[in-house]
Structure formats: structure tokens, C-alpha cells
Symmetry: C2
Subunit: 257 residues, 2 copies
DNA sequence: CAGTGGTCTAGACCACTGG
DNA sequence: CAGTGGTCTAGACCACTGC
């Protein structure tokens, strides 16, 4: 079969992606579009490599390379003998994948999940910095949530987070309190929003009086300030999160490769 | 050609890696051994895929998959039309790849390289914590270096670092001061030690009096404490580094994927 | 057992680099 | 132009899963 002509009788690929790029990249972005459109939900299997190869009229190897990249970006999980599945934050394995604060002991297992307290959850208009971070306009409706996470009874994390009002319509403090499991898993199943990438800016700061009170520390205790912007598919920002971490019994762990 | 029998007439692979694993993994670890042994130096090209395929008696595709993984781990860099090269910290492109502190403006370009001051460089016996981090015994010889990095005249980073005495024999404050370019590049060319991976533990702390003086801040200024352990090939720890970062004009940036 | 992803091969052609 | 890595194919067989 010829290679130079990108597929023989099928406009499936060429139509969707006019400008040239390798076939497997085109396939990748087509799969990405399906993921984004919700054709397959988090946790569900996507079609087999053979099926996708038939659908796109390419060889299995080309589909394979496309899926390889999606798997490398944690958008999809391969399971030999079973299939390829849409990644989810509900996965036992990769729960709290974005939380880099670990106990100094390293035993993230024995510590168990945090005790969560929703301090506040209200609807308000976005200030300019929040709007900028979420790619909204100043004054647009946003949800603001404040919560505290405690480990072994010790309040360790204080988080303020802002969500765009439209996709998260209906989110309340009660629904947050009722939910068992990672917040990002809730966003997936309740609002169809999957966080796939994020970036954090970390600083050392001193808390103000109210922050210090919520974390049971003095205002002279240095804390880690972690500002995160989380993105969905296509890199649209969907969450701004400002965290204050106590680092007397925990530390932020980062791997450099 | 048969697939199940890992290679036909060649003991090259089986001999080196007795326990079973995919062929491309065996090839990968063989290449890794050559990198580790210094068969090809940082910046130099490794043999072409065809050459390696011939050497190991496997197909080009199998070598390709092995190199793909090495490239994904930043051990090697592929350049279309030119070859595959041993990665180096001297590379203009990926210089200071392990330094995550960036100016708040984001303009890491306009800021330029830091002004470096070697405060101290002495040979001493490893304390127990340093020994443990470097996989040495307490009392073994280590080098301790203290330096300050300043941006636009503002001292921003204070680093203490410990290196095992044996591989870094002959390292002096003078040689450090003379060197132009990243310290890790110097380790490569002068001592044959290439840092390939590292992990960092980050905390918020207050400086003691001497630290505060070196950074021109008060002892009440919260700072980022960054403890790094850097590893060579085969994950042998080769450096312990304790940094204090000012985060009034800079921040630690981290990407979560 | 059939179906899935995982490995391996052989061969073709493309895109880029340098002499 | 020859040599490099990059893409694509077709087909074989392996390893694992679940019925």
C-alpha cells in the first residue's frame, strides 16, 4: 500500500485535518476530539485498535502510535488483554495524581485519605486576576470554594478554588460534602469536566490571621503557597486553586527527569 | 525470522540479560550500559539505528523502540537527518533543566544567567544525613560547596551542595569559579558524571541569621527550602543539594501532567 | 476459546542534513 | 547525493483477560 497518499478512498482523515501532519498525529487528534466530545466516558473502554484502524482506514500500527502518545499523556490507559480505557481521577491507582504533598515518612498509604471540611462555597463575580486565570471576563459568574484538608486531625491544607460558573452550574457546598472520593472525580461524573493537565506556581509565604486560624498555626509560620491552574482537553483552563500547605510534617515532592 | 526465540545466532543479548524481558528492553539496557561506561560521551552521536540493529542482530524497529524510550527519558536526543546524540546539560536548549525557579514575569530569556558566587568549597567527612542521601558511610569524604546565585544584582538562591569525594576528586572553589556554564555540564566534562534524574522535597522555612545575611533578607522572610538528590545512570545518588529560594520576585514552576 | 494489547520483523518511502 | 531519523504498512506470533 502506498504511504505518501494519506489513505486511499477515505476523506475521513483529510477532511478533519486540512493542514499536513503525520497520519498518526491526525488519528491522535481525531481520537482526542472524540474524548473531548464525550463519545467515550472516563473509565469506559475506547474501541479496539483494530476497530479504530478500520474506522480511520489506516493500519493497526498507526493507530497504535497515536494511542501510545495519548497513553503517555495520561489521557488513556492501556490494559493488556482488556482494552484501552479513558483515564479517570476515580482510578484507585492514580487518585490524587495532582497532589504532590506527601507525609515526610513517605507512607502515603498508611496515612489514608484526608479529612475534608468544606468551609465555604459561594457564587460570585470574578475579580480580574481570577477571570484572567480562567479565561473569563471580569465580572463573569464563578464559584468559589474554600476547604481544609486534615491528616490525623491536623489541618494541613487550606485551599481556595474558583470554577467557571457555567460548566459547574449546580455545584453546592452540600454536594461537595456528600461526595466520597477525589474532587476531580466528582467533576468528571457530575459535570463532565475532566482535568488533564495543570501547572503550579509555588512560593513561601506567611498566612494572614484567618488563614492561620484555619490551619491552627501562628501568623509567623512559613507556609507553602501553591497556585494551580488546571486545564481540560484542548488546554482550556477550568480551575484556579490557591493552596496553603503546612510543611512541618509534610513536603512537596517533585521528580525531575 | 522467528520472534519467540530472542535472536538467532547471537549470544550478545541473552548473555548480558539472563532473565526474560522484551527484546527492545534488553537492547535498551545494553545501550544504557554503553552510555554508563562512557562508550559515547555527552554530546557525541551514538551509532545509527541500522548500525545498532546490525550489532545486536535485531531489526531496526526494535532498536528504534529502545531508543524511543531513552529519548523519552532525556538520556539521548534524536535529530532527524543527523543522528542520535547523548544528552548533555551543556545543550543550549535544555540548560538548567533541573532549575524550576523562574522570574514572575516568565521571561527566563531576558533575565539571562545568574551571577554566581562561590562562598565556600571544602572537603570534610559526611554527617549521617548526608551520607545516607549519597549512599555513603558516615565519615566518608565529601565535598561541600556553598554558593549564591543572584539575578539583576539581587541574591535569590543560596545553595549548599554535597558531592561524594571519590568521583569528584580535584574539585576546588577555583575551578568552580573559572567554569562558564551550568555546573552539571562541568561535572560531565571534568569528572565524567552525568546527572540524569533528581527528586526534590520542598518546604517553606525561615532562614537562620547567616542564611538571611547571604540572601539580604530578614530572618522573618519565608523562603522555599528545596532539597534535591540527583542521580547518575543506574540511579546512583551523586549529589545532595539544599537550596533556599527567595520567592518575592521568582516562583517555583511545576507542570502536572 | 476469541479478543485484546504487546512485540518483532521486513520493506517501502518521506523529510531532513550535510558534503 | 548518501546517510540519518521518521512514518507507514502488512503480517506473524506472544501474553494476558474473560467467557
Amino acid at each position: 500500500m502506498s504511504t505518501s497518499a494519506p489513505i486511499v478512498p477515505s476523506p475521513l482523515v483529510e477532511a478533519a485535518t486540512p493542514s499536513f501532519s503525520p497520519l498518526y498525529q491526525q488519528i491522535k487528534s481525531l481520537i482526542l476530539q472524540s474524548l473531548q466530545a464525550g463519545e467515550w466516558k472516563p473509565g469506559e473502554p475506547i474501541p479496539s485498535e483494530m476497530d479504530l484502524a478500520a474506522r480511520f482506514r489506516v493500519s493497526q500500527g498507526t493507530v497504535r502510535k497515536a494511542i501510545d502518545e495519548l497513553a503517555a499523556e495520561n489521557l488513556v490507559i492501556r490494559r493488556q488483554g482488556k482494552g484501552t480505557f479513558v483515564a479517570t481521577h476515580a482510578e484507585q491507582n492514580v487518585q490524587y495524581r495532582f497532589l504532590k504533598l506527601v507525609p515526610d515518612s513517605g507512607d502515603t498509604q498508611t496515612e489514608g485519605p484526608a479529612e475534608r471540611t468544606i468551609v465555604d462555597c459561594k457564587r460570585l463575580r470574578a475579580a480580574s486576576d481570577v477571570a484572567r486565570a480562567l479565561a473569563l471576563r471580569t465580572g463573569d459568574a464563578v464559584l468559589q470554594v474554600r476547604r481544609v484538608l486534615a491528616y490525623a486531625g491536623v489541618p494541613t491544607i487550606l485551599e481556595d478554588l474558583w470554577l467557571p460558573g457555567t460548566p459547574f452550574k449546580g455545584l453546592t457546598a452540600e454536594r461537595l460534602r456528600e461526595w466520597r472520593g477525589p474532587m476531580y472525580a466528582m467533576f468528571e461524573t457530575e459535570f463532565g469536566v475532566r482535568m488533564v493537565r495543570a501547572q503550579e506556581q509555588i512560593r513561601a509565604v506567611l498566612p494572614d490571621a484567618s488563614q492561620a486560624a484555619l490551619l491552627s498555626v501562628s501568623v509567623a509560620t512559613p507556609l507553602l503557597s501553591v497556585e494551580r491552574i488546571a486545564h481540560t482537553y484542548n488546554d482550556a483552563p477550568m480551575e484556579l486553586r490557591r493552596g496553603l500547605y503546612r510543611t512541618d510534617t509534610h513536603h512537596y515532592r517533585n521528580a525531575l527527569g
